[in-house]
């Protein structure tokens, strides 16, 4: 596997590139380095769910809750899922408004999933240059070169398995 095969087809990133996480097992080590985590879930999660498994949304919510992260979303489907679980630790926030005020929050690590690719690409580049105290980790099925850490691009079926594994790891109490 070429080191940067995941950049193919995208606008090349700038001089500061994401670290690619090829093994899902490495994620807990990163999570535990940051106490204040913000988990941002985008509207595209419903489409990913349609293409992978209907339980994806539940699994993503479960990952966020296991991390003890503050959840931010503007996806009606996610809001519904959070309400169904009785989750209170979330806010409905639009991504740009969230990005605008993220530096004022105490978040140290922002985890993103479920956003339109280019939209997230640009929000991550804003955060990379203008909120350097905040680290970003993207759980998307496609690599995001402007994040601090990104998963490699993988077929959706493999990516979904990784999400399941991550959920299991966190549930089993792998130290975060």
């Amino acid at each position: 596997m070429a080191l940067e095969y995941w950049l193919y087809g995208d606008i090349p990133p700038g001089p500061i590139k994401a670290s690619v996480l090829t093994d899902i097992k490495t994620l807990p080590d990163i999570f535990k380095r940051f106490k204040n985590r913000l988990f941002a879930i985008g509207s595209q999660i419903t489409k990913l769910s349609e293409l992978t498994s209907l339980d994806l949304i539940d699994r993503v919510v479960s990952i966020a809750l296991s991390l003890g992260a503050w959840i931010s979303t503007s996806s009606p489907a996610i809001v519904k899922a959070l309400d169904a679980r009785g989750v209170k630790s979330y806010e409905i926030a639009f991504p740009l408004e969230l990005a605008q005020k993220i530096s004022k929050r105490s978040a140290e690590l922002v985890i993103l999933i479920g956003y339109p690719y280019a939209y997230e690409w640009l929000i991550l580049n804003y955060l990379k240059h203008y909120t350097q105290n905040v680290k970003t980790l993207t759980l998307e099925p496609y690599a995001q070169p402007n994040a601090t850490w990104t998963l490699a691009s993988l077929p959706l079926s493999l990516w979904y398995k990784n999400m399941c594994s991550l959920e299991e790891m966190l549930k089993k109490g792998v130290q975060t």
């Binding site: 740009l96 939209y119 640009l122 496609y142």
Partner: protein, 799 residues
């Protein structure tokens, strides 16, 4: 064209007028020398900023930018515009010239908007010169009996009240000169401050709006387009409306003159019934405005390759803007030919402008040349028609020649599952999944991509198995394409003064909750249906809905349960619950013109060269918002920037993030939202009304919540504010749950009178929870301290 230093009035050739001049060498009284041509005076006294240059409105721009700061979204962290570079601008670094990443983004936005403004201006220039040549300089600017304030943008910006096409020459020359001056600021080592770059972005936008107005008014008055007609005809739209059994001439682009010439030629030769003339993109809108009921609109820009690959057109006539640059290759694959009508898009074709039409037809029909440049509309029309008539029988096999299902399946079997297609799809479409299913004989996934794909072909470019993916999607969707039969209202042009009088009060008071303009290109993130969905929602909520360009076409493509398109469902009047298609891109000027007229006709503010006061009025009182859900082009950027300078917020879809920066208000910064009561002069908290000036929504739900929010204005009456908040809250609840309230609702409630009645108890409870306190209310808000002085002078009878 030159400029008088004393009067700041442009003139053609020379004019000097002095009441009195005393100097050490002479004393002159009542001198008035005129050589050449000067625009006729009009009754309204001159305003403060005629023919503004780059820095004239800088103070207004700074006032806007102190509220709505750029949030930069760099698309590239480097600069490679000069040979000092490439320079790495990441994380606070500066380039060799000294620019940092923020300044570079503002510089690039300036460049993008300059391209847009230049393109519209060039279009306007072409129309004006050619139509003056045909109709004469004295051709009157007559927009019908209900439009007394013609060309409000031109009047507002330049101070000129144009009466004839001749008057537009001086206006356009001003725009051209300013574009050159402003574009020069992008050169290495010129502008170096983001705020001044953003001011130049606004300047380009304002110039762009003047050019739009010149272009559209010129074609309306000279070509007999509908003049502010709310009942302009309903015309056919959709691939399925095209009679492919006839020779088909497809016109693509934005400049209607070649298309109009083709129609004229067909009428003159009695051939109109024998040839189909159909349009794509804005040329189609203008063709419909020219030929009215008979015209056919194929669809928005992204329908180009759908139509071409279906093999339907025999002759493709391209004029200017937004045409696939390899359309000649695409045409060649279906045996069609291309005629280029503009020297801005020659496409490598041989010039046959001065060849005899019969010899060119022969070259084209025999395939000796793939197309030709013909820079004369009448000659082009003759060649287009004659070629179509001869070529159509020869290429009958290409018509609707999309693959059958078994061929689609065979191609799909070649897919190796490398997913290069998906990695390159701007829409993130699940192409691999669709191909894998097709390989198993199920083409329904491919078909499901039809509405979301805008035919960029990036998937095809990178497919290692050379699968013609777009063609497969089209082949799987043939029945959908054939059934595309809709009705679109032809662009009506300006809004009537009487319509403005009828709604102006309710808009300013807020009792009509807003004017929502759905404009722009076809780069919709999830297909055209989202635009139609939003239009129907806001028309039903009694907003005034306007539309233009490709979005106006998208709206036509979705029917209600009774089988009506929105143009059949809603009235074409500029009224609450109306849906107004103004026309093509250049007709966006009438949307800007309408908001300006609200300030002028309803509020009776002086219009002439009075930009800052009018824009301040619009920002604070006219609840208008633009939605360019599929904005793609540089032109869309310059149109948007014209609206920003006028104080009208613009929402774009997620692809709009690629414009590199947003203009966001910071609701948590209380100090940012102070202004003045223009009558008392008191400094007041006006609130985040509107909250943002340029905003990219991630999803259609987010846009639908943001629209009512950005229609909120500082001058809303309690009743008006309550109506606006009712819409904001109800849409929020629809998407996020009946038990939810927008978390920022307390910022928009000034007194209990603002609380929406349907949610009264719930909102009051929330206000108590967050410790809400009453806020000041004013019916005369302004963000410019100078306006207080203006009001004072006016009260004292000082004009």
């Amino acid at each position: 064209m030159s400029r008088c230093l004393f009067l700041s009035v442009p003139f053609k050739d020379v004019r000097v007028r002095l009441e009195e001049l005393k100097s050490s060498v002479a004393e002159v009284k009542g001198l008035d020398i005129v050589i050449g041509y000067v625009v006729e005076e009009w009754e309204e006294p001159p305003g403060p900023t005629p023919f503004p240059s780059i820095a004239t409105l800088r103070k207004w721009d700074y006032a806007l930018l102190s509220r709505y700061k750029p949030l930069y979204l760099p698309y590239c962290d480097l600069c490679c515009l000069c040979t000092y570079g490439k320079c790495d601008l990441s994380r606070g670094k500066r380039g060799s010239c000294g620019l940092n990443l923020s300044e570079q983004q503002s510089r690039l936005v300036t460049l993008v908007c300059s391209i847009g403004a230049a393109t519209h201006t060039s279009h306007a220039r072409d129309l004006l010169d050619k139509l003056i040549e045909r109709f004469g300089e004295d051709w009157p600017i007559d927009l019908g009996g209900e439009v007394y304030v013609e060309m409000p943008i031109t009047r507002l910006v330049t101070g000129v009240k144009p009466r004839t096409l001749r008057d537009l020459k001086i206006v356009l020359e001003y725009v051209e000169r300013q574009i050159v001056q402003t574009l020069a600021s992008v050169h290495t080592g010129q502008e170096g401050d983001w705020k001044d770059y953003e001011s130049k972005v606004f300047h380009f936008g304002m110039l762009d709006h003047v050019a739009l107005e010149v272009a559209d008014v010129t074609q309306i008055v000279a070509l007999g387009f509908p003049k502010a007609d709310p009942e302009s005809p309903l015309v056919d739209l959709g691939i399925g409306t095209v009679d492919a059994s006839k020779p088909v001439i497809l016109v693509i682009g934005h400049n209607v003159l070649p298309s109009a010439a083709i129609i004229d030629y067909l009428e003159e030769t009695g051939l109109r019934d024998k040839v189909e003339v159909v349009g794509l993109c804005c040329t189609a809108h203008d063709l419909a405005r020219y030929e009215k009921k008979r015209a056919r609109i194929v669809g928005p820009i992204s329908w180009q390759l759908r139509f071409v690959r279906a093999g339907i057109p025999d002759v493709i006539v391209i004029d200017e803007q937004c045409i696939y640059t390899d359309i000649v290759d695409e045409a060649r694959r279906i045996g069609a030919i291309v005629l280029a009508a503009s020297d801005k898009a020659l496409r490598g074709l041989p010039d046959r402008t001065y060849a005899s039409s019969d010899s060119v037809v022969e070259e084209l029909v025999l395939g000796k040349i793939p197309g030709a440049v013909i820079l004369n509309e009448e000659r082009l029309a003759e060649v287009a028609v004659k070629t179509a008539l001869k070529l159509a029988p020869l290429r009958a096999k290409f018509k609707w020649s999309l693959y059958n299902e078994s061929t689609v399946v065979e191609y799909a079997k070649k897919c190796t599952g490398c997913r290069n297609c998906e990695r390159n799809c701007p829409q993130n479409l699940a192409i691999s999944v669709a191909l894998q299913n097709a390989a198993r004989g199920d083409v329904s996934f491919l078909k499901s991509l039809y509405n979301k794909c805008f035919a960029c072909r990036r998937c095809e470019y990178v497919c290692p198995a050379n699968i013609p993916i777009l063609t497969l999607i089209l082949a799987a969707s043939k029945d959908t394409m054939v059934s595309e039969r809709y009705k679109c209202r032809a662009g009506r042009g300006p809004i009537q003064d009487t319509e403005i009088r009828a709604v102006g009060r309710d808009i300013v008071l807020g009792t009509i909750p807003g004017v929502v303009a759905f404009v722009g290109c076809a780069n919709w993130p999830d297909g055209a249906q989202d635009v139609a969905k939003m239009v129907r929602e806001f028309a039903l909520r009694r907003y005034i809905v306007t539309a233009s360009g490709c979005s106006a076409m998208a709206i036509a493509m979705y029917k209600n349960e009774e089988g009506q398109t929105p143009y059949e469902e809603f009235s074409g009047v500029f009224e609450a619950g109306g849906l107004v298609n103004v026309g093509s891109c250049v007709a966006n000027s009438h949307i800007a013109g309408a908001v300006i007229k609200i300030a002028n006709i309803f509020a009776k503010l002086p219009l002439r060269a009075n930009y800052a006061e009018i824009a301040d009025y619009i920002l604070n009182r006219v609840g208008a918002v633009g939605v360019a859900w599929g904005a793609m082009s540089q032109k869309a950027a310059s149109i948007a920037s014209g609206f920003w300078r006028l104080g009208v917020p613009v929402i774009v879809g997620p692809h709009g993030m690629k414009y590199r920066r947003m203009l966001l208000g910071d609701v948590e910064n209380e100090e940012a939202w102070y202004g003045y009561d223009a009558v008392t002069g008191e400094r007041l908290w006006l609130g985040p009304a509107p909250a943002h000036l340029f905003y990219a929504a991630e999803s259609v739900e987010e846009a639908m919540v943001m629209i009512p929010k950005l229609c909120i204005r500082a001058a809303d009456t309690p009743q008006g504010r309550a109506i606006k908040l009712t819409n904001y809250i109800s849409l929020y609840k629809r998407f996020y749950g009946e038990d939810k309230l927008p978390p920022d609702i307390d910022l928009y409630i000034r007194t209990e009178g603002d609380v929406p009645v349907p949610y009264r108890d719930e909102v009051l409870r929330y206000l108590k929870e967050v410790g809400w306190r009453e806020k000041p209310v004013t019916s005369n808000p302004t963000i410019l301290e100078d306006i207080v002085e203006v009001y004072k002078r006016r009260r004292q009878g000082g004009g």
